[in-house]
Amino acid sequence: MIDPHSSKLKLEDIEIQLLLEGIYQYYGYDFRNYAMSSLKRRIRRILEVENLDTVSALQDQVLHEPESLQRFLLAITVNVTSMFRDPAFFIAFRNQVVPLLRTYPYIRIWHAGCSQGQEVYSMAIVLQEEGLYKRCRIYATDANEQVIKQAKSGIYPISLMQQYTQLYLQAGGKHSFSEYYTAAYDNAIFRASLRDNIVFSQHNLATDHSFNEFHVILCRNVLIYFDQTLQKRVHQLFHESLCKLGILCLGRQESIRFSPYENDYEAVEKTEKIYRRLS
């Protein structure tokens, strides 16, 4: 006899597969190669919030009510981010990457999976302080339209600024962090000049193609949500999009081992996952 509990788990797996397939075929969003264990947790969370009993019921809702798709898209991906997340990374970037960038007359940077933009504004601040910003064009992309909108606005809750100030200082910040924003009621509005050379747009790493050649690509805490097959695809995309001697930055606990091109890179700063493409 089949144990009812474990058979239910298997049925849920089937339902999840059908849900992802349906969303891909109908809307074109491809979650089929996301890491299953973390994806499953978020799908269960959505069932709770939407007050649904089964994944099949969720499938029915998402396919037949386009406005519920928007809620699904926001909840199925993780947008948790921060300014100067991992301050040690930004210190390493200042010390090891900035000197390399000084040798270029023009610098193109791609933040893939930039979420609500905090990482991008952090980078813009570093580049301004290092006197490089004027030469840079930053492309900030995310698959999620709504987080891109928020990123464009450059407006964040004022309540976060105390924590961001700490991180900014730990990351080697050279000024007073409050110079970079104006407070308005509950919001901190970041200086528009930080945005001068940033282009925000929607781009899906699972389905879209290379759109330019870059000197630096940052993709931090995004690949952890993909399985090894999709990670390979994305590494292929990065390899196509990175110029020779270009810099690739991954998240603190991510590794270049799953790139089919691992051997084309050398570590610039191993613990901070900063790599340089050699060939």
């Binding site: 299953m36 947790r41 805490n221 952890i224 606990q253 590794s255």
Partner: protein, 190 residues
């Protein structure tokens, strides 16, 4: 499928973990995954501190690392640790009950991928993390060991687990090591 040991520890956990790791046999044949609550900016010092006392090699997990027998894996600061049948998955999803890494997240994913082959161990701590995870492991037919609350720096976490589920063993740290050896050593199979 092979066995997997998952351990959850919070306040006072480092000393207890040291005692347990020290007591493990060199022939220990299952992988061990540990969530120890810690400050989110803490660095890799914990790996080194524990390695001094462990006969088994200790690694801080990187995303999609293979799960190999005889290794001890630590959840990195500020990431949830999950398991799939042969590798780890990390995530920066919201903290669960204020914790990231969360013991419940690790235990629940272990229950799903390793079912009755899972051995869950709840140690000292001042919160209730791990209680739900332990009961998920039990529901899948796995084994639960809880630190004897009177031997814990903080009894809250072991007590919460005992209230939530029926433990197979309730033991002080040195005996937890012995029990794990009995369950998972190569020599115990011959």
């Amino acid at each position: 499928m092979q066995r997997l040991v998952v351990i959850g520890a919070s306040l006072g956990g480092l000393t207890t973990l040291r005692t347990i790791l020290q007591g493990l046999a060199t022939t220990f044949s299952a992988p061990i995954a540990i969530v120890q609550h810690r400050h989110k900016e803490s660095k890799t010092g914990m790996t080194k501190a524990l390695q001094l006392h462990s006969p088994l090699p200790i690694r801080e997990v990187e995303d999609k690392d293979a799960i190999l027998p005889g290794y001890v894996y630590l959840a990195p600061a500020d990431y949830h640790l999950l398991v799939e049948p042969d590798h780890f998955v990390l995530s920066v999803d919201e903290p669960v009950s204020y914790a990231r890494p969360s013991i419940d997240v690790l235990f629940e994913s272990a229950a799903e991928s390793y079912a009755e082959q899972t051995i869950g161990v709840i140690l000292t701590g001042a919160n209730q993390d791990g209680a739900l995870g332990a009961s998920a492991i039990k529901a899948q037919g796995g084994t639960i060991i809880v630190q004897e609350p009177t031997t814990a720096t903080s009894a809250v976490m072991p007590t919460a687990a005992l209230n939530q589920t029926t433990a197979d063993w309730v033991l002080p740290p040195t005996q937890i090591a012995r029990r794990l050896n009995a369950l998972c050593s190569v020599s115990s199979l011959t």
